[in-house]
């Protein structure tokens, strides 16, 4: 504690490097709190969607629009990416940087695949079905809820991508570990949100309930 430089980050890492420093523990706690706020955010979006889901005006209804096989595939991809981010954290706890970076890369690639499917889905609706934000109250609620989730996925992909770069440059330290841990928390959260979207938007919509 006698120099103004970085705390010593070399040497053996503790088992849970993300919780080794006060900064790290604070970051994880605050991120849990942030996710609480995010839950209210998505909760309000879901409430809006549930209010407006049958208000289709002149436009198509959910059961006319959606194709379940594609969204089921997207769901599967995103759930697997949650699993791979768990593998990444396990690798981090073993101190295995190579495996950590590998699993993070797989997570990012799966997220990217999900996002491409979603963009494809939106473009089909917009171009083929002429179904846009302005069509009906249902369309506004649909694009806003699913789009908010998609924007979260995009942010997560960029974030984890940057963290892989940091791992490469700075290595696995008590500074980088909390960042990776909270990014994994974030990734699980947007997966859970997607499970609700798949159920409430697509399954209920297709069933015409």
């Amino acid at each position: 504690m006698t120099t103004p430089h970085a705390p010593k980050v070399t040497g053996a890492l503790p088992h849970e490097p993300e919780k080794a420093t006060l900064e790290g523990r604070n970051k994880i706690l605050a991120f849990w709190l942030f996710l609480g706020g995010e839950a209210v955010l998505f909760g309000t979006l879901f409430a809006t969607f549930l209010t407006l889901r049958n208000q289709v005006a002149e436009g198509p209804s959910a059961s006319e629009l959606f194709s379940l096989p594609m969204t089921a595939a997207a769901t599967f991809i995103l759930l697997v990416s949650s699993l791979t981010s768990v593998f990444a954290i396990q690798a981090m706890h073993r101190g295995n940087k190579k495996s950590l970076m590998g699993w993070l890369s797989v997570t990012v690639l799966l997220g990217l695949a999900f996002l491409i499917l979603e963009i494809y889905e939106f473009s089909v609706y917009m171009i083929h079905d002429d179904y846009s934000m302005t069509t009906s109250a249902f369309s506004s609620a649909f694009y806003t809820l699913v789009g908010f989730h998609g924007a979260h996925v995009l942010f997560g992909i960029l974030w984890i991508g940057i963290l892989i770069g940091q791992l490469l440059k700075k290595g696995l330290t008590v500074v980088t570990a909390p960042k990776i841990y909270v990014s994994a928390m974030y990734w699980h959260f947007i997966d859970v949100v997607w499970v609700f979207i798949f159920t409430v938007v697509y399954l209920l919509g297709k069933a015409g309930v």
Binding site: M1, T2, T3, P4, H5, A6, P7, L22, R25, N26, L29, A30, L33, F34, G36, G37, E38, V40, L41, T44, L45, A47, T48, T51, L52, Q55, V56, A57, M133, T134, T135, S136, A137, F138, S139, S140, A141, Y143, T144, I162, Q166, K170, V175, K179
Partner: protein
């Protein structure tokens, strides 16, 4: 220690733009909040001038709508919220025995996003018209059909940005209070102001995301042509009311709880007694917060939700009177038998109690759904919420500012001027708002820009206007007091009120940038008072003197907020024709928005890539200056 003091220290304006010190951020919040409070106050006076006599044409109907909208919005979001954050920033780390908040960087970011959001909202005055649909911005009044200027866009985007700052601040204080308390300071030993700020922060966390979504929906309706609130395409205007009040009602408890905390501190200090019923105070605070989320539809009794919903929300609303009553009685019992000193803070606190009770009583009256059909949208409601917000919160804030001013600035405000301020302000306040109860009961609608003579409204409106100017005089006396005080030399004692009970009074005024040379050991509630009664002059340290780690100053929070500001402004004008090819090109193709977002995300990337290791204040420096022998 060869590398000591290698850190660059900024001076002057750059110091303020880059600071991450919670005490300086508190002062920034105070000045910014005071600035917006002044704007909101001038708007209030203009409203009262217009209403001073019947059929007045001091302002037009449109200008009047803009004035009431901006008065409400400015006062709530940009006036009192930042002053609350100023007190929280100035006091909480000191009260819990911490050297800073958990996230100094986020603290600065929260301030700058709030400031830029507020500036964006107020730019509307000079950029084509202020928002004009009332502070609640009900649809369809706030839709593009009925509100043609960009006013509501300034409202949605300005509040969105300012709200982001508030949310960041809330998370920061939650984390700070959970993890940064000094050894021995258990939750049930925390000072009451810290407790109420803690609960307020939790309410911010769960209430603000709702308005975030509401504002996004309204923005999408207005700018992207979405149909959330457009009935012709299947939208639902009542949805806006629900979302707004699911946020809006917790918001009023977000405002009042910190004032409850201030009053608890001030009354106990100047009664020289421990706060009566401390644990019931904590319980009541939590209960108010919990119930505060369950009552939003009492703003919508006349919307037509049906008798069952109205009955349930009536009952839940009346329930809040119970924990609030607990608090009132606890304050009275704290004063009972105490050695009361009526200093200026205590005057404000004592004035708070009856005034707030009156606001609470009209609150219970309004909670009765059948009666509310009579009161709804009349001056009775205006009187009620000014009694709780001005008579409650603003009196609490004045009490807090007078109480902690010496700690924040190292100078005592003049007690003599303070007493003048108190009496003009509180007499002016009751003159302004007491008659408004009766104006409402005899049928004067709120938000009307004028009224016909001889309905019994004339005299009471004139009285109300005179009262408003008296309040203005009170505020001016406060400002004079601040200016006079600022010219005096710094140098009050650690404990200038002499009866300080909590940790902030155990360190110099103003505190050094690291607050505590040694983190104190807390041995009970009212930690400093406990040491004093044991015959100690100082807190017992919990650690030896050592080098203190400090976070580095940074311009990034300012840049991030500037970027969001530019992006918001750009997004608002995406479909406007400026009559200028270049402007049309950069706005209509999202280029301005893109530049703004690039600045923000670029700054975030910078923050992520280049770790801030901070710097250390070394032991010899601490010994040189930090110690008062």
């Amino acid at each position: 220690m060869a590398h000591a003091h290698s850190v660059k220290r900024h001076k002057g304006l750059m110091d303020w733009l880059t600071t991450v010190d919670h005490k300086k951020i508190a002062i920034l919040y105070l000045w910014a909040g005071g600035f917006f409070f002044g704007i909101g106050g001038i708007e209030a006076l203009l409203i009262r001038v217009q209403l001073a006599k019947p059929m007045n044409d001091f302002v037009s109907a449109q200008q009047f709508n803009e004035l009431i909208t901006m008065h409400g919005t400015t006062m709530i979001f940009l006036g009192v919220m930042p002053v609350i954050f100023a007190l929280m920033n100035a006091v909480i780390p000191l009260q819990i025995g911490a050297r800073d908040v958990a996230f100094p960087f986020l603290n600065s970011l929260g301030f700058w996003t709030f400031l830029f959001g507020g500036l964006l909202l107020n730019l509307s005055w000079i950029m084509g018209g202020a928002p004009d649909a009332g502070w609640t911005s009900y649809t369809p009044l706030s839709s593009t059909t009925y509100s043609l200027t960009h006013g509501i866009d300034f409202y949605t985007i300005g509040l969105q940005i300012a709200g982001l700052g508030t949310l960041i601040g809330g998370i920061n204080f939650l984390a700070t209070i959970i993890t940064m308390r000094a050894p021995g300071m258990s939750f049930m030993r925390m000072p009451m102001f810290t407790w109420t700020s803690f609960i307020t922060s939790a309410m911010i966390l769960f209430a603000f995301p709702a308005i975030t979504v509401g504002l996004v929906l309204l923005t999408f309706d207005r700018i992207l042509g979405a149909n959330f609130f457009d009935v012709s395409k299947g939208g639902n205007p009542v949805l806006w009311q629900h979302i707004f009040w699911i946020f809006g009602h917790p918001e009023v408890y977000i405002l009042i709880l910190p004032a409850f905390g201030v009053i608890s501190e001030v009354i106990s200090t100047f009664s020289r007694k421990r706060l009566f019923g401390y644990s019931s105070m904590v319980f009541a605070t939590i209960l108010i917060a919990f119930l505060g989320f369950m009552v939003w539809a009492h703003h919508m009794f006349t919307t037509g939700l049906g008798p069952v919903a109205n009955a349930l929300f009536s009952i839940s609303t009346m329930l809040i009177a119970v924990p609030t009553g607990i608090k009132i009685f606890n304050w009275l019992f704290t004063m009972w038998g105490g050695q009361i000193r009526f200093t200026v803070p205590n005057l404000f606190a004592a004035g708070f109690i009856p005034t707030f009770v009156m606001g609470g009583v009209t609150g219970v009256m309004l909670a009765s759904a059948p009666a509310d059909y009579q009161y709804h949208d009349t001056y009775f409601v205006v009187a009620h919420f000014h009694y709780v917000i001005v008579g409650g919160l603003v009196l609490g804030l004045f009490a807090g500012l007078h109480y902690w001013w010496p700690k924040m600035f190292g100078r005592m405000l003049s007690e003599r001027l303070g007493k003048w301020e108190f009496w003009t302000f509180i007499i002016g306040f009751h003159l302004t708002f007491f008659v408004q109860h009766f104006l409402g009961l005899i049928g004067m609608q709120r938000r009307v820009f004028t009224y016909l003579p001889n309905q019994g409204f004339d005299l009471m409106n004139l009285v109300s206007t005179i009262g408003a100017f008296l309040m203005g005089v009170g505020v001016i006396i406060f400002l004079v007091n601040v200016v006079i005080t600022a010219r005096q030399p710094v140098g009050v004692a650690n404990d200038p009120w002499e009866d300080g009970r909590t940790l902030e009074w155990s360190i110099p005024s103003p505190p050094p940038e690291y607050n505590f040379k040694q983190i104190p050991l807390v041995r009970g509630l009212d930690a400093f008072w406990k040491e004093k009664t044991a015959g100690h002059k100082e807190m017992t340290p919990a650690e030896p003197v050592g080098p203190i780690h400090m976070p580095s100053a940074t311009i990034l929070p300012f840049l991030m907020s500037l970027g969001i500001f530019i992006a918001g402004l750009g997004f608002m004008f995406t479909s406007d024709d400026f009559g200028n090819n270049f402007l049309n090109f950069i706005f209509n193709n999202y280029i301005v928005t893109g530049i703004g977002l690039a600045i923000t995300f670029g700054s975030m990337l910078w923050r992520s890539l280049f770790d801030d290791h901070g710097w250390h204040i070394e032991q010899d420096e601490l010994n040189e200056k930090g110690v008062k022998a």
